[in-house]
Amino acid sequence: MSSKASEVLSLLKRDVLLGNLKRGERLDGRGPEDYREIKIETGIIGKAEGSALVHIGDTKVIAGVKAEIGTPFPDTPNQGVQIVNAELIPLASPIFEPGPPGEDDIELARVIDRGLRSAETIRLDELVLIPGKKVWTIFIDIYSLDYNGNLFDASGLAALSALLTTNLKKTEITGENIILKEEEQPLPVGRKPVYVTLVKIEDILLVDPSYEEELLADARITFIVDESDNICGIQKGGKKGFKPSEILKAADIAIETATKLRKILPST
């Protein structure tokens, strides 16, 4: 992930990994387009309006959703507010450092945020309480707990799963006064974007990279795919480039993979 991390992989391990890959084998036995095992636990944080802990292999990410009544942005008076925050906390990896969010945290948060916006996952227009004055603000906080590769997909899956299981209190509005009731209702959600990341090592494309594969990767690309196979976001990273043909091939793989991943989403 960070440039510092890229120095960690020993040359020896690098050669072994590369040799295996050229024979179509990944270190953990997967084929190039195989995803690791996924486990999603939802509703685990009682104080949160929604929450999910996602395991992708040994990678663990938790997302929590909090809802507060706030004021809309001046230029979108008839929409709720969505705020995504991601923190690569030092608990999750020896390469993460304490301190305010760095460029990796911020890129991750913004990519998750844009995917949810493009897919209109949170129906922001249905979160208005008093037009122009009071709306729901939905905070999505994403914390990595164990980083072993592919934080983008794990974070996206955690955020989506948390949102799909989020409940908001019903409200009663009289004039300017908002009363929160005990009863709850599900957060209104639109499309469900799935994040699929591939890396490129020399000319090999690998789905769902492990940490070692990320260290070795020349470049990374994430596709955000909705249930109609539309692409709701793309983010390329890494220190080298892709050929256009590689990107198009990666997009096809991502769309296929997303269809499979979609099956394990929690039901709203």
Partner: protein, 245 residues
């Protein structure tokens, strides 16, 4: 002081969650829950959910912080924004900074820091859900994570909060009791060695109540200490089993 809108002790002497004054909440501890960390632990104490990772002994950055005669113990206590009723800002609050310090000082007496000069031992605590007593539960879990990391220790550190609710001393305050009660007195001990390594109080207590508090704490700490040891044993057995295959 906020006036409690609710009765915290009922006519049968039961607390709001049904416990008797001296009862602790259900506790569950697991060790070795993370792959990257050198040691780790997870604790549930009632609704509290806390995960702890230990890294080290490892190199110190920045280097000038290294100590010539012992390891540098660092501790970061942090609450996830979604762990509390009102979303907490992600950046460290003054409360988190103080708690990081007192938790570090609660753990330090138990560790043979002098065995690892010029290194750092880092304890990272993430509160995933909070419901009263996170600092004591964090200490309990952190000492399991330290042991899980194989760091030599004089003793485990075990902690519990004693509180005062409607004039009565009770053990292991929950969130509501903490908010509406009259006092909170978190205590951490090295149970075998009999040393108190964290001790704070908030609210008003008599000198007599102090004595009683230690007695109550003692019993609770014994129970939790057993859970800590079980958690470490289970991990050891699991490792041993895998080893045998």
């Amino acid at each position: 002081m906020k006036i409690s809108p609710i009765k915290l002790i009922d006519e049968n002497g039961r607390r709001i969650d049904g416990r008797l004054p001296h009862e602790i909440r259900k506790v569950k501890i697991e060790s070795g829950v993370l792959k990257n960390a050198d040691g780790s632990a997870y604790i549930e104490l009632g609704n509290n959910k806390i995960i702890v990772a230990v890294y080290g002994p490892r190199e110190v950055y920045p280097k000038h912080q290294a100590l010539a005669d012992r390891a540098l113990l660092r501790c970061r206590y942090s609450m996830a924004p979604f762990s509390v009723e009102e979303r907490k800002t992600p950046s460290p609050t003054r409360r988190e900074i103080e708690l990081s310090k007192v938790i570090r000082e609660a753990l330090e007496p138990a560790i043979f820091l002098e065995e690892y000069p010029r290194t750092a031992i880092d304890v990272f605590i993430e509160v995933l859900e909070a419901d009263g007593g996170t600092r004591t539960a964090s200490i309990t879990a952190a000492s399991v994570a330290l042991a899980d990391a194989g760091i030599p220790m004089r003793d485990l550190v075990t902690a519990i909060a004693i509180g005062k609710v409607e004039g009565l001393l009770v053990v292991d305050l929950n969130g509501l009791e903490d908010q509406y009660g009259e006092g909170d007195m978190p205590i951490a001990m090295m149970p075998q060695l009999g040393y108190v390594t964290l001790f704070q109080a908030d609210g008003r207590f008599t000198a007599e109540e102090l004595k009683e508090a230690f007695k109550l704490a003692n019993d609770a700490i014994k129970k939790i200490y057993e859970e800590q040891k079980q958690a470490l044993k289970r991990k050891y057995l699991k490792v041993a089993e895998i080893g045998e295959i």
